[in-house]
Protein backbone atom coordinates (compact mmCIF):
# COMPACT_ATOMS: atom_id res chain seq x y z
CA UNK A 1 0.00 0.00 0.00
CA UNK A 2 1.14 3.52 -0.66
CA UNK A 3 -0.36 6.66 0.84
CA UNK A 4 -0.93 10.15 -0.50
CA UNK A 5 2.38 11.53 0.67
CA UNK A 6 4.09 8.61 -1.04
CA UNK A 7 2.24 9.45 -4.24
CA UNK A 8 3.38 13.05 -3.99
CA UNK A 9 6.96 11.84 -3.63
CA UNK A 10 6.57 9.72 -6.75
CA UNK A 11 5.17 12.64 -8.70
CA UNK A 12 8.09 14.80 -7.61
CA UNK A 13 10.42 12.05 -8.84
CA UNK A 14 8.56 12.02 -12.15
CA UNK A 15 9.27 15.73 -12.45
CA UNK A 16 12.96 15.12 -11.74
CA UNK A 17 13.15 12.39 -14.36
CA UNK A 18 11.36 14.49 -16.95
CA UNK A 19 13.75 17.36 -16.30
CA UNK A 20 16.74 15.02 -16.49
CA UNK A 21 15.53 13.54 -19.79
CA UNK A 22 14.42 16.82 -21.30
CA UNK A 23 17.09 16.86 -24.02
CA UNK A 24 16.73 13.17 -24.78
CA UNK A 25 12.96 13.36 -25.21
CA UNK A 26 13.33 16.53 -27.27
CA UNK A 27 15.86 14.82 -29.55
CA UNK A 28 13.52 11.88 -30.10
CA UNK A 29 10.67 14.25 -30.85
CA UNK A 30 12.79 16.39 -33.16
CA UNK A 31 13.60 13.31 -35.22
CA UNK A 32 9.98 12.44 -35.97
CA UNK A 33 7.83 15.22 -34.59
CA UNK A 34 7.82 18.86 -33.64
CA UNK A 35 10.65 18.61 -31.14
CA UNK A 36 8.83 19.83 -28.05
CA UNK A 37 8.10 16.70 -26.04
CA UNK A 38 11.03 17.06 -23.63
CA UNK A 39 10.39 20.73 -22.96
CA UNK A 40 6.65 20.19 -22.61
CA UNK A 41 6.95 17.30 -20.16
CA UNK A 42 9.52 19.16 -18.07
CA UNK A 43 7.40 22.32 -17.95
CA UNK A 44 4.23 20.40 -17.27
CA UNK A 45 5.65 18.44 -14.37
CA UNK A 46 7.42 21.45 -12.95
CA UNK A 47 4.03 23.15 -12.75
CA UNK A 48 2.59 19.97 -11.27
CA UNK A 49 5.09 19.86 -8.39
CA UNK A 50 4.19 23.43 -7.49
CA UNK A 51 0.49 22.59 -7.58
CA UNK A 52 0.71 19.57 -5.25
CA UNK A 53 3.35 20.93 -2.90
CA UNK A 54 0.87 21.83 -0.17
CA UNK A 55 -1.52 18.92 -0.64
CA UNK A 56 -2.16 17.08 2.63
CA UNK A 57 -2.11 13.72 0.89
CA UNK A 58 -5.42 12.62 2.38
CA UNK A 59 -7.16 12.11 -0.97
CA UNK A 60 -5.11 10.49 -3.70
CA UNK A 61 -7.86 11.15 -6.23
CA UNK A 62 -7.51 14.86 -5.53
CA UNK A 63 -3.74 14.74 -6.02
CA UNK A 64 -4.05 12.97 -9.36
CA UNK A 65 -6.78 15.32 -10.51
CA UNK A 66 -4.48 18.27 -9.82
CA UNK A 67 -1.75 16.53 -11.81
CA UNK A 68 -4.09 15.94 -14.74
CA UNK A 69 -5.57 19.43 -14.80
CA UNK A 70 -2.14 21.03 -14.51
CA UNK A 71 -0.71 18.98 -17.36
CA UNK A 72 -3.71 19.89 -19.50
CA UNK A 73 -3.22 23.59 -18.91
CA UNK A 74 0.57 23.80 -19.16
CA UNK A 75 1.88 21.23 -21.59
CA UNK A 76 0.59 22.76 -24.80
CA UNK A 77 1.26 19.77 -27.07
CA UNK A 78 -0.53 16.46 -27.43
CA UNK A 79 0.91 15.15 -24.16
CA UNK A 80 -1.24 17.70 -22.34
CA UNK A 81 -4.65 16.32 -23.23
CA UNK A 82 -3.33 12.75 -23.37
CA UNK A 83 -1.45 12.52 -20.07
CA UNK A 84 -3.89 15.00 -18.54
CA UNK A 85 -6.85 12.80 -19.36
CA UNK A 86 -4.91 9.73 -18.20
CA UNK A 87 -4.27 11.22 -14.75
CA UNK A 88 -7.81 12.56 -14.50
CA UNK A 89 -9.36 9.19 -15.31
CA UNK A 90 -7.00 7.53 -12.81
CA UNK A 91 -8.04 10.12 -10.22
CA UNK A 92 -11.65 8.97 -10.43
CA UNK A 93 -10.60 5.45 -9.44
CA UNK A 94 -8.54 6.82 -6.55
CA UNK A 95 -11.15 9.30 -5.37
CA UNK A 96 -11.42 9.48 -1.61
CA UNK A 97 -8.62 6.97 -1.07
CA UNK A 98 -5.88 7.67 1.43
CA UNK A 99 -3.89 4.66 0.31
CA UNK A 100 -3.74 2.56 -2.80
CA UNK A 101 -2.85 -1.05 -3.39
CA UNK A 102 -1.42 -2.71 -6.46
CA UNK A 103 -4.98 -3.71 -7.40
CA UNK A 104 -6.00 -0.06 -7.20
CA UNK A 105 -3.01 0.83 -9.37
CA UNK A 106 -4.09 -1.73 -11.96
CA UNK A 107 -7.56 -0.19 -12.04
CA UNK A 108 -6.10 3.29 -12.25
CA UNK A 109 -3.81 2.32 -15.11
CA UNK A 110 -6.71 0.66 -16.91
CA UNK A 111 -8.80 3.81 -16.60
CA UNK A 112 -5.84 5.94 -17.70
CA UNK A 113 -5.30 3.88 -20.84
CA UNK A 114 -9.00 3.99 -21.71
CA UNK A 115 -8.82 7.74 -21.28
CA UNK A 116 -5.84 8.04 -23.63
CA UNK A 117 -7.57 5.86 -26.22
CA UNK A 118 -10.75 7.94 -25.97
CA UNK A 119 -8.90 11.26 -26.17
CA UNK A 120 -6.39 10.43 -28.91
CA UNK A 121 -8.48 7.83 -30.74
CA UNK A 122 -5.37 5.71 -30.89
CA UNK A 123 -4.71 2.05 -30.37
CA UNK A 124 -1.81 -0.35 -30.05
CA UNK A 125 0.43 -0.32 -33.13
CA UNK A 126 -0.02 3.37 -33.90
CA UNK A 127 3.47 4.11 -32.54
CA UNK A 128 2.36 6.10 -29.51
CA UNK A 129 2.53 6.00 -25.72
CA UNK A 130 -0.05 3.22 -25.87
CA UNK A 131 2.62 0.91 -27.29
CA UNK A 132 4.44 1.14 -23.97
CA UNK A 133 1.42 1.41 -21.66
CA UNK A 134 -0.77 -1.39 -23.01
CA UNK A 135 1.92 -4.10 -22.84
CA UNK A 136 2.96 -2.76 -19.43
CA UNK A 137 -0.56 -3.12 -18.07
CA UNK A 138 -0.92 -6.59 -19.53
CA UNK A 139 2.37 -7.66 -17.91
CA UNK A 140 1.34 -6.08 -14.62
CA UNK A 141 -2.01 -7.87 -14.55
CA UNK A 142 -0.42 -11.19 -15.49
CA UNK A 143 2.30 -10.87 -12.84
CA UNK A 144 -0.22 -9.85 -10.19
CA UNK A 145 -2.51 -12.76 -11.09
CA UNK A 146 0.33 -15.27 -10.76
CA UNK A 147 0.99 -14.09 -7.23
CA UNK A 148 4.14 -12.05 -7.81
CA UNK A 149 4.94 -9.34 -5.28
CA UNK A 150 3.99 -5.76 -6.11
CA UNK A 151 7.65 -4.92 -6.73
CA UNK A 152 8.12 -7.91 -9.04
CA UNK A 153 4.89 -7.14 -10.86
CA UNK A 154 5.92 -3.53 -11.42
CA UNK A 155 9.27 -4.76 -12.69
CA UNK A 156 7.44 -6.83 -15.31
CA UNK A 157 5.42 -3.76 -16.22
CA UNK A 158 8.54 -1.66 -16.57
CA UNK A 159 10.27 -4.28 -18.72
CA UNK A 160 7.22 -4.62 -20.95
CA UNK A 161 7.04 -0.85 -21.33
CA UNK A 162 10.64 -0.65 -22.53
CA UNK A 163 10.09 -3.60 -24.86
CA UNK A 164 7.17 -1.62 -26.24
CA UNK A 165 9.43 1.38 -26.73
CA UNK A 166 11.83 -0.80 -28.76
CA UNK A 167 8.88 -2.08 -30.75
CA UNK A 168 7.92 1.47 -31.72
CA UNK A 169 11.22 1.73 -33.60
CA UNK A 170 10.02 -0.92 -36.03
CA UNK A 171 6.75 0.67 -37.09
CA UNK A 172 5.54 3.76 -38.86
CA UNK A 173 3.58 6.38 -36.94
CA UNK A 174 -0.16 6.49 -37.53
CA UNK A 175 -0.89 9.30 -35.08
CA UNK A 176 0.44 12.69 -34.24
CA UNK A 177 2.91 14.88 -36.05
CA UNK A 178 5.05 11.83 -36.84
CA UNK A 179 2.25 10.41 -38.95
CA UNK A 180 3.04 13.08 -41.51
CA UNK A 181 6.44 11.43 -41.97
CA UNK A 182 5.04 8.04 -42.88
CA UNK A 183 7.74 5.41 -43.33
CA UNK A 184 10.45 7.93 -42.49
CA UNK A 185 9.37 7.51 -38.86
CA UNK A 186 10.50 3.89 -38.93
CA UNK A 187 13.77 3.32 -37.08
CA UNK A 188 13.01 5.99 -34.48
CA UNK A 189 11.56 5.29 -31.06
CA UNK A 190 8.39 7.12 -30.12
CA UNK A 191 8.89 9.96 -27.61
CA UNK A 192 5.52 9.44 -25.92
CA UNK A 193 6.17 5.73 -25.43
CA UNK A 194 9.57 6.68 -24.01
CA UNK A 195 8.20 9.14 -21.47
CA UNK A 196 5.57 6.57 -20.45
CA UNK A 197 8.26 3.94 -19.89
CA UNK A 198 10.28 6.45 -17.87
CA UNK A 199 7.23 7.05 -15.67
CA UNK A 200 6.70 3.37 -15.04
CA UNK A 201 10.37 3.03 -14.18
CA UNK A 202 10.03 5.80 -11.58
CA UNK A 203 7.00 4.08 -10.10
CA UNK A 204 8.85 0.76 -9.97
CA UNK A 205 11.92 2.36 -8.37
CA UNK A 206 9.77 4.10 -5.76
CA UNK A 207 8.39 0.95 -4.25
Amino acid sequence: MINGLGIIEIINKLAEVMEKNKSFLTELDAAIGDGDHGLNMAKGFQAVTAKIRDDDGKNIGDILKKVGMTLVSTVGGASGPLYGTAFMKASVVANGKEEISIEDFINMMTAAIEGIKMRGKGEAGDKTMLDALIPALEALIKAQATGKSSKAALEEAKKAAYTGVEFTKTIAAKKGRASYLGDRSIGHQDPGATSSALMLEVIYNSL
Partner: protein, 128 residues
Protein backbone atom coordinates in the same frame (compact mmCIF):
# COMPACT_ATOMS: atom_id res chain seq x y z
CA UNK B 1 -25.03 34.93 -35.76
CA UNK B 2 -22.99 31.78 -35.28
CA UNK B 3 -19.79 32.64 -33.48
CA UNK B 4 -16.48 31.32 -34.79
CA UNK B 5 -13.36 30.23 -32.97
CA UNK B 6 -10.13 29.51 -34.83
CA UNK B 7 -7.62 27.40 -32.92
CA UNK B 8 -4.04 26.98 -34.04
CA UNK B 9 -0.80 25.85 -32.41
CA UNK B 10 0.47 29.23 -33.57
CA UNK B 11 -0.96 32.49 -32.27
CA UNK B 12 0.15 34.12 -35.53
CA UNK B 13 -1.74 31.62 -37.65
CA UNK B 14 -4.91 31.91 -35.57
CA UNK B 15 -4.81 35.69 -35.60
CA UNK B 16 -3.88 35.79 -39.27
CA UNK B 17 -6.79 33.55 -40.21
CA UNK B 18 -9.07 35.81 -38.17
CA UNK B 19 -7.73 38.88 -39.97
CA UNK B 20 -8.28 37.33 -43.39
CA UNK B 21 -11.79 36.29 -42.39
CA UNK B 22 -12.77 39.72 -41.12
CA UNK B 23 -11.90 41.09 -44.54
CA UNK B 24 -14.84 39.05 -45.83
CA UNK B 25 -17.28 40.20 -43.16
CA UNK B 26 -16.30 42.96 -40.75
CA UNK B 27 -19.18 42.20 -38.40
CA UNK B 28 -18.45 38.49 -37.99
CA UNK B 29 -18.01 37.22 -34.43
CA UNK B 30 -14.59 35.64 -34.41
CA UNK B 31 -12.15 34.75 -31.66
CA UNK B 32 -8.70 33.43 -32.46
CA UNK B 33 -6.65 31.39 -30.06
CA UNK B 34 -3.19 29.96 -30.46
CA UNK B 35 0.01 29.30 -28.57
CA UNK B 36 0.52 28.69 -24.87
CA UNK B 37 0.42 31.30 -22.12
CA UNK B 38 4.21 31.35 -22.01
CA UNK B 39 4.66 31.86 -25.72
CA UNK B 40 5.30 28.31 -26.97
CA UNK B 41 3.62 26.76 -29.97
CA UNK B 42 0.69 24.66 -28.80
CA UNK B 43 -2.86 24.97 -27.53
CA UNK B 44 -4.64 25.09 -24.16
CA UNK B 45 -8.24 24.20 -23.38
CA UNK B 46 -8.66 27.13 -20.96
CA UNK B 47 -7.92 29.64 -23.68
CA UNK B 48 -10.28 27.86 -26.04
CA UNK B 49 -13.06 28.01 -23.44
CA UNK B 50 -12.45 31.75 -23.08
CA UNK B 51 -12.64 32.22 -26.84
CA UNK B 52 -15.88 30.25 -27.09
CA UNK B 53 -17.44 32.31 -24.32
CA UNK B 54 -16.35 35.50 -26.09
CA UNK B 55 -18.33 34.75 -29.24
CA UNK B 56 -21.09 32.62 -27.77
CA UNK B 57 -24.76 33.32 -28.42
CA UNK B 58 -27.92 31.27 -28.72
CA UNK B 59 -26.95 30.71 -32.36
CA UNK B 60 -24.01 28.69 -31.17
CA UNK B 61 -20.34 28.45 -32.09
CA UNK B 62 -18.27 26.60 -34.65
CA UNK B 63 -14.65 25.78 -33.77
CA UNK B 64 -12.05 25.23 -36.46
CA UNK B 65 -8.57 23.92 -35.68
CA UNK B 66 -5.26 23.19 -37.39
CA UNK B 67 -3.69 19.92 -36.20
CA UNK B 68 -4.41 16.94 -33.95
CA UNK B 69 -3.67 18.18 -30.46
CA UNK B 70 -5.61 21.38 -31.15
CA UNK B 71 -8.59 19.12 -31.74
CA UNK B 72 -7.99 17.20 -28.50
CA UNK B 73 -7.76 20.43 -26.54
CA UNK B 74 -10.86 21.81 -28.27
CA UNK B 75 -12.72 18.67 -27.21
CA UNK B 76 -11.50 19.17 -23.65
CA UNK B 77 -12.62 22.78 -23.82
CA UNK B 78 -16.11 21.61 -24.69
CA UNK B 79 -16.05 19.29 -21.69
CA UNK B 80 -15.23 22.28 -19.47
CA UNK B 81 -18.10 24.37 -20.84
CA UNK B 82 -21.46 24.73 -19.09
CA UNK B 83 -23.71 21.92 -20.22
CA UNK B 84 -26.26 24.16 -21.91
CA UNK B 85 -23.56 25.82 -23.99
CA UNK B 86 -21.83 22.57 -24.85
CA UNK B 87 -24.77 21.37 -26.95
CA UNK B 88 -24.54 24.50 -29.02
CA UNK B 89 -20.82 24.38 -29.87
CA UNK B 90 -19.38 22.20 -32.60
CA UNK B 91 -15.84 21.41 -33.62
CA UNK B 92 -15.65 20.96 -37.38
CA UNK B 93 -13.07 19.15 -39.49
CA UNK B 94 -12.09 21.58 -42.23
CA UNK B 95 -8.96 23.08 -43.74
CA UNK B 96 -8.47 25.98 -41.38
CA UNK B 97 -7.83 28.92 -43.69
CA UNK B 98 -10.36 28.08 -46.36
CA UNK B 99 -12.82 26.81 -43.75
CA UNK B 100 -12.54 30.04 -41.80
CA UNK B 101 -13.35 32.11 -44.87
CA UNK B 102 -16.36 29.96 -45.78
CA UNK B 103 -17.64 29.86 -42.21
CA UNK B 104 -17.26 33.62 -41.84
CA UNK B 105 -19.17 34.37 -45.00
CA UNK B 106 -21.94 31.92 -44.16
CA UNK B 107 -22.20 33.10 -40.58
CA UNK B 108 -22.44 36.73 -41.63
CA UNK B 109 -25.31 35.75 -43.94
CA UNK B 110 -27.17 34.45 -40.91
CA UNK B 111 -26.83 30.76 -41.69
CA UNK B 112 -27.16 28.34 -38.77
CA UNK B 113 -24.61 25.76 -37.61
CA UNK B 114 -25.91 22.92 -39.77
CA UNK B 115 -26.02 25.09 -42.87
CA UNK B 116 -22.46 26.24 -42.26
CA UNK B 117 -21.27 22.67 -41.62
CA UNK B 118 -22.82 21.66 -44.90
CA UNK B 119 -20.79 24.31 -46.73
CA UNK B 120 -17.63 23.12 -44.96
CA UNK B 121 -18.03 19.49 -46.08
CA UNK B 122 -15.83 19.88 -49.15
CA UNK B 123 -12.98 21.14 -46.99
CA UNK B 124 -12.98 18.10 -44.72
CA UNK B 125 -9.49 16.65 -44.23
CA UNK B 126 -10.18 13.57 -42.12
CA UNK B 127 -8.36 15.02 -39.13
CA UNK B 128 -11.03 14.30 -36.52
Amino acid sequence: MVGLVFVSHSEKIAEGVRELSLQMAQDAKIASVGGTDDGRLGTEPGKIVQAINEVYSEDGVIVLFDLGSAYMNAEMALEFLDEDKRLNVEIVDAAIVEGAIVATVESSMGKNINEIKHQLKNLKLGKM
